[in-house]
């Protein structure tokens, strides 16, 4: 794969001046993304130049990336960064984004567009916007290709037995005085977030919503992981994408968590991935054990995060770092999560 072309600020401004500039970029254009070296720009910009650039970048149907080799906290990155979808500090990060964008350009573009317009500032608006984007991608060719690959690989390599927890309830619910203890409990599946788990979590959170005497709601996971993401065995089982959108916005674990957020403490360990991360990030407090690792893997599947992550993550860490996680697909550790504000404190190892 060839390295992405890196524009100077002056080149980018010149290219984006044309009314049809968007046509050159994105899934239908020749360039899957726009990368700009914002440090090498030189000179001091006119007032309002960054805002003008942002207005032009927002038209592009692709991720827009500010490359700030001097660091994302440098002057140039601070000045120009807000105009872009994501800020990277190295060519290696840029290469990872380029790889994602080359494989699933529609998902990458959709994710960038979803985050750049900021519906996440309002939880309800953000959840609806995310679900609409997700439904669009559920009907698209990139998710279809991912699903076909997964089914082929499952047919060739059937899962080992013992990967099921049988008919046991997917969520343990217990009360300890004024604390409600909710434990995701499908350890053999690393607490894959299934429709049954969704329903059980929403039911338990409805109790928390009704019973104001519950002072604290602790959400954790049994087994090796807090939650390794959506239940891949259920991917592709939804009704048509439009109906799936209605299901998501009718019965939303994200909404139920957000409603109780000030009282919710998520205690996470091991894989805290996809839906696991997205839901935990709604908690008022996130306590991460040292082995916790966090990632958003959805773009590689031709999707965007669909469990509320494009709302809960930007509200914690901003849209740039949310886009970084989604577009690079890179996992971060507990210390980085703490540094970013994705976690609020470190918890001792179990």
């Amino acid at each position: 794969m060839s390295a992405p072309r890196i524009h100077s600020l002056a080149e980018a401004v010149a290219r984006l001046r044309a009314p049809d500039a968007a046509e050159a970029f994105g899934p239908l254009g020749d360039e899957p993304l726009l990368a700009v070296d914002v440090v090498g720009g030189g000179g001091s910009p006119l007032p309002g130049a960054a805002d003008a650039l942002r207005a032009r970048l927002e038209r592009l149907p692709c991720p827009t990336i500010a490359l700030a080799r001097a660091g994302a906290r440098g002057t140039a990155a601070k000045r120009w960064g807000p105009a872009f979808d994501v800020v990277v500090e190295s060519d290696e990060e840029l290469a990872r984004i380029a790889e994602t964008t080359a494989r699933t350009p529609i998902a990458a573009a959709t994710c960038a567009q979803l985050l750049r317009f900021g519906a996440w500032r309002d939880v309800e608006a953000g959840l609806v916007a995310e679900s609409l984007a997700y439904a669009t991608l559920q009907a698209g060719p990139e998710f279809a290709a991912w699903l076909m690959n997964r089914r082929a690989s499952r047919a060739a390599h059937p899962p080992r037995s013992g990967r099921s927890d049988g008919d046991a309830p997917p969520l343990r619910v217990a009360r300890d005085g004024d604390r409600l203890l909710l434990t995701l409990d499908c350890p053999a599946r690393r607490n894959a977030f299934s429709a049954a788990m969704r329903d059980a979590l929403i039911e338990a959170l409805a109790l928390a919503a009704e019973d104001g005497s519950l002072r604290e709601i602790v959400l954790d996971g049994a087994g090796p992981a807090f939650c390794a993401g959506g239940d891949l065995d259920e991917f592709g089982t939804r009704p048509d994408p439009a109906t799936a959108h209605v299901v998501r916005t009718t019965r939303s674990a994200a909404r139920a968590l957000a409603a109780c957020a000030p009282r919710v403490v998520a205690v996470v360990h091991g894989a805290c991935i996809g839906a696991g991360l997205e839901l935990a990030a709604f908690a008022g407090r996130v306590r991460a054990r040292p082995d916790a690792r966090f990632a958003l893997p959805e773009l590689a599947m031709g999707l965007v995060p669909g469990a509320g992550g494009t709302v809960s993550l930007p509200r914690r860490i901003g849209r740039h770092r949310t886009a970084w996680l989604a577009l690079t697909g890179t996992a971060i550790d507990a210390a980085t999560a703490l540094d970013w504000g994705l976690a609020d404190e470190l918890a001792p190892a179990e």
Binding site: A195, E203, S213, R238
Partner: protein, 109 residues
């Protein structure tokens, strides 16, 4: 087994079992009086003193309650939310209450 005096319930009222650990909150109540029991004994207000020498639920009313579940009567005008689980069976006017099942919705993935 005693069903106690029927009373008019108000949504938000919190009650507890006299013979097990069950506690409930009234979510929906009929307009008229109704006699609520758990484990075969009348429910008491949450703050009421515990009865002396708990003998546990009656053998025919020991089905148990589950935290977070909603219990409804056949008429559909009574709904209790279990806020603390216990060993007794919830009943209204002598008829056991049933768990209200959520409408089944498929995966959205």
């Amino acid at each position: 087994m005693s069903t106690g005096e029927p009373v008019v319930l108000k949504p938000g009222t919190r009650l507890r079992s006299a013979v097990c650990a069950t506690e409930v909150m009234v979510i929906q109540a009929p307009a008229g009086p109704i006699a609520l029991t758990c484990g075969g004994a009348p429910l008491a207000p949450l703050g009421a003193p515990a009865p002396a020498g708990g003998s546990g639920p009656a053998p025919d009313a020991a089905g148990g309650t589950q935290i977070g579940k909603r219990y409804v009567n056949a008429a559909g005008d009574l709904e209790l939310l279990c806020t603390k689980p216990g060993a007794g069976t919830l009943a209204a006017d002598g008829a056991p209450l049933a768990i209200k099942a959520a409408r089944p919705l498929p995966s959205s993935d």
